[in-house]
Symmetry: C2
Amino acid sequence: MKPRITLKNIAKEFGVSISTVSKALKGSHEISEETRERIQAYADYYNYKPNSLALQLRSQKTSVIGVIIPEIVHHFFSTVINGIEQYANERGYNVMICLSNESYEKEVSNISMLTNGSVDGLIVSIARETQENQIYKHFDALIKDDFPLVLFDRVVDSIKCDKVIIDDIGGAIKATDHLIEIGSKRIALLTTQDYISVGSLRKEGYIKSLIKNGIKVDENLIYKIDDKRDLYEQIKKVINVKNPPDAILAVNEIYAAIASKISKERGLVIPNDIAIIGFTSGLISEFTSPSLTSVMQHGALMGKQAAELLINRIEHKGVDEDYQKEVISPNLKIRESTKR
Amino acid sequence: MKPRITLKNIAKEFGVSISTVSKALKGSHEISEETRERIQAYADYYNYKPNSLALQLRSQKTSVIGVIIPEIVHHFFSTVINGIEQYANERGYNVMICLSNESYEKEVSNISMLTNGSVDGLIVSIARETQENQIYKHFDALIKDDFPLVLFDRVVDSIKCDKVIIDDIGGAIKATDHLIEIGSKRIALLTTQDYISVGSLRKEGYIKSLIKNGIKVDENLIYKIDDKRDLYEQIKKVINVKNPPDAILAVNEIYAAIASKISKERGLVIPNDIAIIGFTSGLISEFTSPSLTSVMQHGALMGKQAAELLINRIEHKGVDEDYQKEVISPNLKIRESTKR
DNA sequence: TATAAACACGAAAACGTTTTCGAAAGTTAA
DNA sequence: TTAACTTTCGAAAACGTTTTCGTGTTTATA
């Protein structure tokens, strides 16, 4: 790579000082018009661009925000990043992305790398392993130093910072209410292991709705799917039984899609024999047939809000208002799988 | 945010010079064991981390690679980024992501931003608008400065740099061959406008396979879908006709999924009446029913290879070997939609 | 004509680090 | 006792900027 041209190069070329060149290129009135124009022309010709590292070092500001997510090959996280990137750009920030791969170790090392001066703030969704072990001291260290931090989606109450989350309880209530409205009596819940915060919140909403509607909660209809084992086998045990449920609420799109496939294979008609709703973050629900009613998660909006909170926090350095918690309400996209 | 602790702070604390502190923390033998241990303990206690901006400025190396992609909410690009990130991390690099949103302007400004010293090299997939207008001077400028650059997927021959691409022609041939093998006679092609390079390459493979198998190419079976108009309407015109094709090759997953839906709505049985194959980059094909046979694109592998080419180029600064072009062969994942 | 103001520029510090070179002590050997 | 080494540290340059504070020259004013 050819070395880039610097102020020093230009200064030597014209036999002037570095400060003169700097001022000339910034259009300072301190420099005579003649000198300024000559320097400007030369700089243009050689495509001078100020070295951003030097600027960052001097100004103690990088205009970069770091994002740490569990994985990127996941439609929900892609949409969040999209939201972050769009908004950050508008405010003059760039985005640096790191993946924790759901690993505690990697999350810690990512945070350590990014907070050595390369970013002005951090947006994080916590790794599964971290939530499992409930070790949050790497976050507490950030808080102690007042490092700008925003958590989204997978958050933890004990970490004192700005947060943006989805109203998972409300979303699950909406979905369950809808299933009940269309006449479902035995609604199965496909959820995750308890330590996944969103899974247990959605379960909470499901239960609330049942109680509100005077339906007895049947623990046998609540299935905790283990992501590390075969999903088909686990979900078959829900549907391929003598007396299958007449509706399913799945806490993510994959579970819902698999439930749909298995139902059809067993000869059940959707939505008449069995209605299906999934929390969604992708395109599958839209393109399967029948298309699946979904609780829409608004990832892009989430990203935008997270970026907004973070940048505000970065730029109002002095002010330390209370930490904010933005709650995004998911809405129900009704499709064929619940149109009885 | 609390100001971070620096060498200067520590030096003042112990009444020694900055260089002594620096050496002590690097375990230099020049420093007495006693001094070294005291300084180390203090630094540990206050969680000293060298400011990476200062290091980067001094070493003229950022260990960051920039990635510019058309959009991130697209499974294919997510997998590529995943591949890039994994490999880059192994080699000690971080990843900075920018989106061009298919816009020429944004691509230019992204390149300009990233090449001002904030990254050591660039991995790019060219924006649609850029390919449409065929203006590549922003890339030529990079080449002229020997700036490390790797293009992937959407590449342009005239830009002289390392590239990694998918063998789109071969993939389309494999798919078409397979459709012919299972007895298809009238194979429709759902492709994109001509200026999209991958679209026209896949069309080329489709035609080659037909010719090879002695089937006459029927231009009326080649449909150029316009992404800016309603996809359902356009694809309906392919299937909802008196004499529909008995097989469909779609150049992406969405087209394939829509074709599948419309076929079922029209009462056609997949794969008996109509077989379907799509180039894939997502999960839809796997979870619809029937599941769709796909040409698998191996995005993660692509990302890994792109990162490998780039980092090698960055690190062998002096050596300028010829530019490499890696070609990845897609393979056919046979699913229900072609099992006659 | 003397003084003040305006103009055009340079020196140097600052951001935080690494590294080369030199130098003052202390130690060893002859 | 003297010469040669070793040990332990500091000064300063370098990376590329911006910005404050001079300073010398010219022009305007009284």
